[in-house]
């Protein structure tokens, strides 16, 4: 479609060629969406014939970029799905350590920033400079809030020894956690009790030098409510790390490996977004955007919505495991 119009308006090329030095800039803005930081003076690159063509090209470009982003994250989602499918107990176990409230807050924050981003596009289209600046500022503010919350989550995890791989040494047992107690009070109690039992058995073992698993006789059989959550979380039963006492599931660290990869990569994208928005804020302040040239804002917004989109999936997958 663009070519046909392009011929109808051959002249503007002059404008384009007037300042050959700077002609490429907007295209970079369009294609670079943050890769090339430039202030174009002529907003129509020399190799485009019309604003429509330039805009459409940028739009197609950013959509292709989003395509790659989706596939980029797919690897992590694949790993997630496989491990959750094969070892649900690890995920049940680990999710008690996550703070749903913080996750929910972050979700809302990102959604709001998405709104302001979409609004910013409208402002740019209608050349509403003040509103545009306002909306970009809000977007950036939300993004920063998101990162701050993330920072608190991460530092909390580090503090509790919830690190990937060999460094995974939780300071608290899962049944001591509020989140667990609230959900399954009986199970929590029973877990305490099993833990003591384990202690005793360990003592005898060291004393008698032999592991006799026949001490359970003294206690009455546990109820469904007591035992079910523990098995689901792999604290006891086939997936438990230690067959003789209540412990954590085998390879429990894998969840946090995936958790840090996914949220970390997403966080990096948020930071990238912040940088792009700040750059656009500068340009918006210079009032570079108007009905003919608002591509960069539109493209940045699209990218921002994708970041939001990914979080929309991460939130239930990581924080809302039942």
């Amino acid at each position: 479609m663009s070519e046909s119009t392009s011929q109808s308006v051959t002249e503007p090329k002059k404008g384009g060629h007037g300042a050959p030095a700077a002609t490429h800039a907007p295209a970079a803005g369009a294609g670079g969406h943050g890769h090339g930081h430039v202030e174009g003076q002529a907003h129509l690159a020399h190799h485009f014939d019309t604003y429509q063509q330039q805009f459409d090209a940028g739009k197609l470009g950013i959509w292709l970029f989003l395509l790659t982003e989706v596939l980029f994250f797919s690897g992590l989602f694949c790993a997630y799905t496989i491990y959750r499918g094969m070892h649900p107990e690890i995920f049940v176990y680990a999710h008690y350590f996550l703070n749903t409230t913080m996750g929910a807050i972050n979700t809302c924050v990102l959604l709001i920033s998405s709104l302001t981003a979409a609004w910013a596009v409208r402002n740019a289209q209608l050349a509403q400079r003040k509103l545009l600046i306002f909306n970009i500022v809000v977007t950036v503010a939300c993004a920063c809030t998101f990162m701050v919350v993330k920072y608190f989550e991460y530092s909390h995890k580090f503090h509790d020894g919830l690190l990937p791989g060999p460094n995974f040494h939780p300071t608290e047992q899962v049944w001591e956690l509020e989140s667990f107690k609230k959900k399954h009070p009986e199970a929590a109690e029973y877990a305490e009790h099993l833990d003591k039992l384990g202690e005793e058995r360990a003592h005898r073992k060291s004393a008698a030098g032999s592991a006799d698993a026949t001490v359970t006789g003294e206690y009455e059989r546990p109820t469904e409510e007591q035992i079910e959550p523990l098995i689901k979380a792999g604290l006891i039963g086939p997936h438990a790390e230690d067959p003789y006492r209540i412990s954590k599931p085998k390879n429990a660290h894998v969840f946090f490996g995936i958790y840090f990869c996914m949220t970390g990569l997403h966080g990096i994208h948020v930071v990238g977004g912040i940088i792009v928005w700040l750059w656009l804020l500068k340009r918006a302040a210079k009032n570079e955007f108007g009905p003919k040239y608002f591509g960069p804002i539109d493209y940045a917004a699209l990218y921002w919505h994708l970041v939001d989109l990914i979080w929309i999936y991460l939130f239930p997958l990581l924080y809302l495991i039942h």
Binding site: Q52, L66, C78, M86, W119, V121, E288, L302, I312, L320
Partner: protein, 194 residues
Amino acid sequence: MANDDTPDTEASADADKQPKSQQGPSEEQPPAHKDDATAPTPKLEPTKQDEGDADERDSDSDVSAPAPVAAAVADGHAAAALHADHGLAHTMPIWMLVAVLGALMLLTILTVSVTNYDLGSQGNLVVGMVIATIKAGLVITFFMHLLWDKKFHLILFLTAVLFVVLFLSMSITDRGEYQGNIDLYQNTTSAAAK
């Protein structure tokens, strides 16, 4: 892709004829373009002028730029008319943006509260994913205004999803098939360790 190609093909196939008819209108435009192109730092007013000139161009769009609109319609724009209003692309009304945000917030609350009820083995996961997908749908359709955008962009996005599904399904199927060998090994070895 085909949906995108055919209009392109038609549009450009007869393009070399069209321009000649359009010499007249196209000649008047350059000045406006020129000074907004060469102005060192465009102030607010030139952009205003641009807007005016944009409207003027679109009002008699049948003369100056029939091709984009025609192609746009052929391109399957949901609202080619709307599209024409603001020059390059469709503009989102504010009420719609706010409404969408409201919906998203509600869905977030819903998905959190749902976790308090046990919906069977995979129930919660399914519900969570369904809600997430609805939210994603809202964001894509309205915030990313794909509803008014070129169909080709939608196709691109769906292609991405298709390939992700392909990638996941094959690797997961395979992993599921040979998981047995891994479990067997882990059990036997841990048994040996005991």
